[in-house]
Amino acid sequence: MLVPLTFRPHHTIIERFDPRARWIFSFLMMTAIVYYWDIRFLLFFFFISFTQYFLAHLTWKETRRGWTFIIILISMMVLINTIITSAGTIGAVTQGGHDVFIWNATVPWVGWNIHFGLTAERLWFGFTQIVRLLAITSMFLVLPFTMDPRLYGSTFSGMGLPARLAYSFDLAFRFIPTLARDFNVTMDAQKARGYEMDKVKGGLFSQVKKVAPLIIPVTMNAILSGEDIADAMDLRCFDTGKRTWIIKLTYRWYDYALMIFSGCVLISTLIINHGLNLGNFWMPDWFLGLFHNIK
C-alpha cells in the first residue's frame, strides 16, 4: 500500500550534520541571499546550494516532482514579472534602461494604444531572479529528503520550541501513515458504493462538494480517535512539566563550523550591503553589447 513517507537514509556527509545546525544554516543563508541582486554574489550562494544538493546524493526519481514544481513556478513568476507586468522591485530596472524590443499596437475599434517595451536590464534582472530563486529553492528542497522524521521533535525542542509544540511534530508523523491508510480504506468503501470521483457533473459548487464523501469520514474518524489519544497521553503524564527526549542530539565540531560559517556569511552580507553599499542590481556591460551588435 502507498504511504506518503519518503524518508530513507542516504548515508551521506550531509546527513551527518546535526539537524539543528542544518536548519540554522538554511535560514541564515536564505536571509543572506535575500539581500543580493548582484549576480556575482548570488552565484556564490548558488554554488553552495548546489554543492549541498549534490552531496546529498538524491536520485532523480526522488526529486523529479520537486524540480518540475520549482521550474514551473519560477518560469511563471519570471515570465509574468519580466514580460507582462514589465517590472521588478529594483528601481534601476523599472525606470529607464536600454530598450531591446519595442512593440506598439492599437486595439481595433476601441482605439487603445498598447506600448510594450523590453529593456536589457529587465532581461538580465529576470536571469538574476532565476539564479536567486534556484539558490533558495534547491537549498530547501534537500531538507525533507535528508532528515530523519524521528528527529523532528527533539530537533525543534533543542532549538528552543516548547516541548508541547515540539511534540505536535512527532505526533503528526505518527498519524500520517494511519491517516493515509484510513484515506485509502474510505476511498475503497465509497467506490464500493458506486462513487466515482472522476465523473463530475454540475457546477463549481457540486464539483468541490464531490470530495465530501472522502474527507468527512476520514476527518471525523480522526477527531474521534484524537479524544482517545489525548486520554492515553494524559494517562502517561504528558504535559506535567519538564520533558526528556531520549533521542539526543549532540553538536560536533563540524556542526559548530557550519553554524559559524553561516553566521559569518550573514554578517558579511550586512556589512557589504549596508556598509559598503554593494550587492545591488548589476548588469555586465557585455550583455548590453550583445544587443548593440544585433542592431
Binding site: 505518527r174 480504506v185 465509497q190 464500493a192 471525523m220
Partner: protein
C-alpha cells in the same frame, strides 16, 4: 500499615456533567495483588466509567459529580496528580491503535518516563528491561505502524509497564485481536498477575477470559455492581444472552427458555454461478510477496459463507477482488458473466454490496436518507426507484424513525446498521461484510447477525470473521484461508471438524465447536448452543 490493599473502592458513584442519570451507583470492591479480576457487562454497564475513576481520567479530564472513596495502597486518590496515579495504575485502552503516540517502538515505550523527565541514561535500560519482560525486545527499533495488531498491543502494554504500576486496567484487550493473538495476550496477563500485579480485565468475551482462571469476577449492569465473587457464582446470576459464557453453560441453561427462531431468507440453492474466481493470483507490486495463490471458487445462490482465517492471511484482499477494487495479477474474477478487469467498481457494485468493517469509514451525509440515497444515485437509479429502495432498506434494518438524523450522531450499533442499509439500498445481489460484529458487544452482535441474515433481498451472503462461533451459528459454507490460499471450503461441520486443519489457519476451536462436535452424531449439523440444547434435550424427552 504493612502491605496495604492495592485498590479499595468504597460506595463509588459518578454522574457526568450535563447528564441526569448516574453512570455508576454505589460500587464497592477490593483488589488484592497477584489476582486476575474480570469485569463483565454489556455496553453501557458503567465499566468504562469505573476504569476512568480508578486511573484518574475522572476527575482530571472528565468532569462530573463523584462520591465515595478510591484508595490506592491505602492512600486516597483524591489529591493525587496524574504522575503519581500512573505510577500505581497502568491503563491499556481498548484499541492499541488509539493508544500509541509515537512512530517508533523505542520512543513509544519511553513516553511515560520522558514525560516524568527522568534522565536519558536511566530511561534507556528500562526500555530494554520492559521489552524483554514481555518478550518483544526484538521489536525495539521497528516502526509502530508496521506492527501487527497483537504486537501493537504488547508495545502499548510495555509503554504502561515501564512506569512500574502495580495495578493494570485492561479495557476490552481482546477486541482487536485474532484468536491466537488473543490467547497469547491472555497468557501474558496471567503471567503478570502471577508476578504480583493486580490485573483488572474489562471484557464481554467472558468465555475467552475464563481460560486463564480469573480469581474474581465483577458483573455490572446499568451502573450497578450486581455480582462480585468467584467464577462459579457468576454463571448462576448472569443472563447468558447479554455476555458470552462458555457454550456448555448456555447449553445447560437454555433448554427451559423458549426456542430461538432463526430462518435466513435466501433463494433456494442452485448451480448458477454468481461469482467465480479462476486461478487468481495477486501481488501488490513487482517486488512484493504474493498475497493470493491460485484461488478457485464460486459463489452460488443460497450460500451463506464465512471466511475464516488469521489477520494477514489475505481475507480482505480476496474480498476486494470481488468488487474489482483489486484486480488479479493473473487469473480471472467473474461477476456473473463479466470479468472485473473490464468493468468499473461502480458496475461491480450492482452485483456485490460490500460493507466495510467500520461504519465510521464511510458515513458522511447530513441525514440517514441522504446517506442511503448515495449508493443508488451513484449507480444511476431513477429518483422514484431510489426513494423506494431507501424506504425498503431502512425498514429492513428497523431504523425508520432515524431517517432524518445525521448518521454521525447515531450510536455505534445504529451506525453499523445504517452502513448495511446503505449497501442494501443499492440492491446488490450478494451481500459481503468485513468483520460484521467488530466493536459490538455480545448481545448486540447476535441480535444484529440474526436480523441481517433474516432480511430478504439478496441471493448470497459472505462475511469475514475471526470468530469461529459466527461461522458455526450462521454459515452454511466455510472458507478457511491461510497464507493467501483457500485451504478448505465446505459445510461448517466438515471444514471445522478437523483440528489440524484449523491449526493450520490459526483458528482456535471454541467451546461451542467442542459442544457441537460432541453431539454431532445426534444432530448431523452445527447449531448455536441454545438451539442445540433444545435439539438434544427436547428430542430425547
Amino acid at each position: 500499615m504493612k502491605n496495604p490493599v492495592p485498590l479499595v473502592v468504597r460506595n463509588l458513584s459518578f454522574r457526568y456533567q450535563r447528564r441526569s442519570e448516574y453512570a455508576l451507583r454505589n460500587v464497592s470492591f477490593e483488589v488484592h495483588p497477584g489476582r486476575v479480576i474480570l469485569i463483565a457487562g454489556s455496553s453501557g454497564c458503567g465499566k468504562t466509567t469505573l476504569m476512568r475513576c480508578i486511573n484518574g481520567l475522572i476527575p482530571h479530564t472528565y468532569h462530573g459529580e463523584m462520591e465515595g472513596v478510591i484508595k490506592l495502597f491505602g492512600k486516597s486518590t483524591e489529591n493525587m496528580g496524574m504522575a503519581e496515579l500512573s505510577c500505581n495504575v497502568g491503563t491499556l485502552l481498548q484499541d492499541p491503535e488509539r493508544q500509541i503516540v509515537s512512530s517508533y517502538v523505542q520512543t513509544e515505550v519511553a513516553f511515560a518516563l520522558e514525560n516524568q523527565s527522568l534522565p536519558r541514561e536511566k530511561i534507556l535500560p528500562r526500555i530494554d528491561e520492559t521489552l524483554s519482560r514481555i518478550g518483544i525486545l526484538h521489536l525495539r527499533d521497528r516502526e509502530t505502524f508496521s506492527l501487527s495488531g497483537g504486537e501493537k498491543q504488547k508495545v502499548a502494554l510495555a509503554g504502561i509497564l515501564i512506569a512500574r504500576p502495580r495495578i493494570l486496567l485492561l479495557d476490552e484487550p481482546l477486541a482487536s485481536l485474532d484468536p491466537v493473538s488473543a490467547r497469547e495476550a491472555l497468557q501474558l496477563f496471567r503471567r503478570l498477575a502471577d508476578e504480583g500485579f493486580s490485573v483488572l480485565i474489562v471484557e464481554h468475551r467472558v468465555d475467552d477470559v475464563l481460560a486463564i482462571n480469573p480469581e474474581e469476577v465483577l458483573y455490572m449492569d446499568r451502573g450497578h455492581l450486581l455480582y462480585c465473587g468467584d467464577v462459579r457464582g457468576l454463571m448462576k446470576v448472569v443472563d447468558y444472552r447479554s455476555i458470552k459464557l462458555p457454550a456448555e453453560i448456555v447449553f445447560k441453561r437454555a433448554r427451559k427458555d423458549p426456542i430461538i427462531q432463526f430462518k435466513p431468507i435466501l433463494p433456494r440453492a442452485s448451480r448458477k454461478q454468481l461469482l467465480t474466481f479462476k486461478n487468481v493470483n495477486f501481488r501488490y507490486g513487482e517486488n512484493t510477496p504474493q498475497v493470493l495463490h491460485d484461488i478457485n471458487l464460486s459463489v452460488y445462490p443460497g450460500d451463506i459463507i464465512a471466511i475464516l482465517g488469521p489477520n494477514g492471511a489475505g481475507k480482505t484482499t480476496l474480498v476486494k477482488h470481488t468488487l474489482g477494487l483489486l484486480k488479479p495479477t493473473s487469473g480471472q474474477v467473474l461477476l456473473g458473466e463479466s470479468d472485473t478487469q473490464k468493468c468499473s467498481v461502480a458496475q461491480a457494485a450492482h452485483i456485490v454490496g460490500y460493507v466495510f468493517q467500520s461504519p465510521s469509514q464511510m458515513l458522511f451525509a447530513d441525514s440517514v436518507r441522504q446517506e442511503l440515497s448515495f449508493g443508488p444515485r451513484n449507480l444511476g437509479m431513477r429518483p422514484a426507484e431510489i426513494v423506494k429502495n431507501v424506504e425498503w432498506a431502512i425498514k429492513t434494518v428497523s431504523l425508520e424513525e432515524e431517517l432524518e438524523t445525521p448518521p454521525l450522531a447515531l450510536s455505534f450499533g445504529q451506525q453499523k446498521r445504517i452502513s448495511i442499509a446503505a449497501v442494501l439500498a443499492m440492491r446488490s445481489r450478494i451481500l459481503m461484510m468485513d468483520e460484521p460484529t467488530a466493536g459490538q458487544d455480545y448481545w448486540n452482535y447476535t441480535a444484529f447477525m440474526d436480523a441481517i441474515l433474516q432480511m430478504p433481498g439478496y441471493e448470497a451472503v459472505l462475511f469475514i470473521t475471526h470468530d469461529i462461533d459466527l461461522a458455526i451459528i450462521y454459515a452454511n459454507r466455510v472458507l478457511l484461508v491461510s497464507d493467501g490460499r483457500v485451504i478448505a471450503d465446505g459445510k461448517p461441520e466438515k471444514v471445522l471438524a478437523e483440528d489440524d486443519m484449523l491449526a493450520r489457519s490459526r483458528v482456535l476451536p471454541s467451546s461451542l465447536l467442542r459442544l457441537n462436535q460432541k453431539y454431532f452424531h445426534a444432530t448431523g449439523r452445527y447449531y448455536r448452543a441454545e438451539t442445540l440444547a433444545h435439539r438434544i434435550y427436547n428430542d430425547n424427552n
